[in-house]
């Protein structure tokens, strides 16, 4: 008959079994304190975020307009892709309006 070998024959388990129940071997890692969420900005993260709001200042309707510009460019890409007479299937992602104003052609 095969003799049953207890798991406690393994040294690591013997050690764990011998330890009193009240003293856990693995101490739980201290969790970092919750980050500050107060309204008055005192932490660097909050201050930087506040600064962002001041610096960006895009205006109330800015994000509606940005969304519309993106979707209109996507529409144009779709139109070009579906138009077989278009010279290139892949649309350039360069914002031509801005390129023309930022880099004028030098004669």
């Amino acid at each position: 008959m095969k003799k049953h070998v207890s798991n406690l024959s393994r040294p690591s388990l013997r050690k764990r079994a011998a330890a009193p129940l009240s003293s856990p071997q693995i101490e739980p890692k201290p969790k970092p304190a919750p980050r500050s969420t107060g309204s008055s900005a005192t932490s660097p993260r909050e201050i930087l975020r506040e600064l962002d709001l001041v610096q960006l200042d895009p205006g109330p309707d800015y994000f509606n307009r940005l969304h519309d510009r993106i979707m209109s460019r996507i529409d144009k890409i779709e139109q070009k892709n579906s138009d077989p007479s278009a010279p290139s299937k892949k649309c350039s992602t360069v914002n031509t309006e801005k390129v023309l104003t930022e880099h004028p052609v030098v004669n």
Partner: protein, 215 residues
């Protein structure tokens, strides 16, 4: 009018969907679902791009380009990373390329105009301190700055940061930790900041972030 109302109603029904679901619908031809993704992520993307580009026009260009690239490559998105990580990765790479080409054109980045709006009186003091810190953040090496910005400002996990930076998890953490340490060294030398940093528990917070990065 009735058609418009119906359309809005339909869009509202889509708004509750997750990013991955919206991507799937977009792939199947529902372009309005991509419009929801744009609305959902454009603010975060603009904030992120602004930190790299330092002016609103360039930041907006990065946002537009990133969304268009994402739309064009949507077929390659497999959903292994989150859509947000994938989108931010496109934006970070686009911003890096743009900064590189700026350097090649020998433009002094520091001389570029800042899109600074009118500063409210009650933010003047904080604004001045923040500008000092911002300067030190801007001076960090690009990889460290990227890790810091994504963690501190965008609240992303190290797993997401690693995906965006296309580097191992431990490298993302190390870049973040080095950024914090460098920031701490720089700020400890600033007499103007000493009072504020001690009062506000800035170093405690830095330490807390450091502990987070170590764990």
């Amino acid at each position: 009018m009735a058609e418009r109302a119906k359309k809005t109603e339909n869009l509202k029904a889509f708004e509750v969907l997750s990013d991955v679901e919206l991507v799937e619908f977009t792939k199947n031809g529902h372009k309005s679902c991509f419009s929801i993704l744009v609305r959902r992520h454009q603010k975060g993307l603009l904030r992120l791009s602004f930190r790299f580009m330092k002016d609103l026009d360039s930041a907006e260009d990065i946002v537009q380009e990133s969304f268009i690239k994402a739309y064009e490559r949507l077929g390659t998105f497999e959903g292994r990373a989150s859509f947000k990580s994938w989108l931010f990765q496109i934006a970070v790479n686009t911003a890096k390329n743009r900064l590189r080409s700026r350097r090649e054109r020998k433009v002094d980045i520091d001389e570029l105009p800042l899109a600074v709006g009118p500063i409210a009186e009650n933010t003047l003091v904080h604004g001045a301190i923040a500008k000092l810190i911002q300067k030190h953040v801007d001076d960090l090496p690009l990889k460290q700055k990227t890790a810091l910005v994504l963690r501190v400002y965008e609240d992303l996990s190290f797993k997401e940061i690693a995906e965006i930076m296309e580097c191992p998890y431990d490298t993302a953490k190390a870049n973040y930790r080095h950024a914090l340490m460098k920031l701490k060294e720089e700020l400890q030398d600033q007499a103007d900041l000493r009072h504020w940093t001690e009062e506000s528990g800035f170093y405690t917070e830095l330490h807390q972030y450091g502990v987070e990065a170590e764990s």
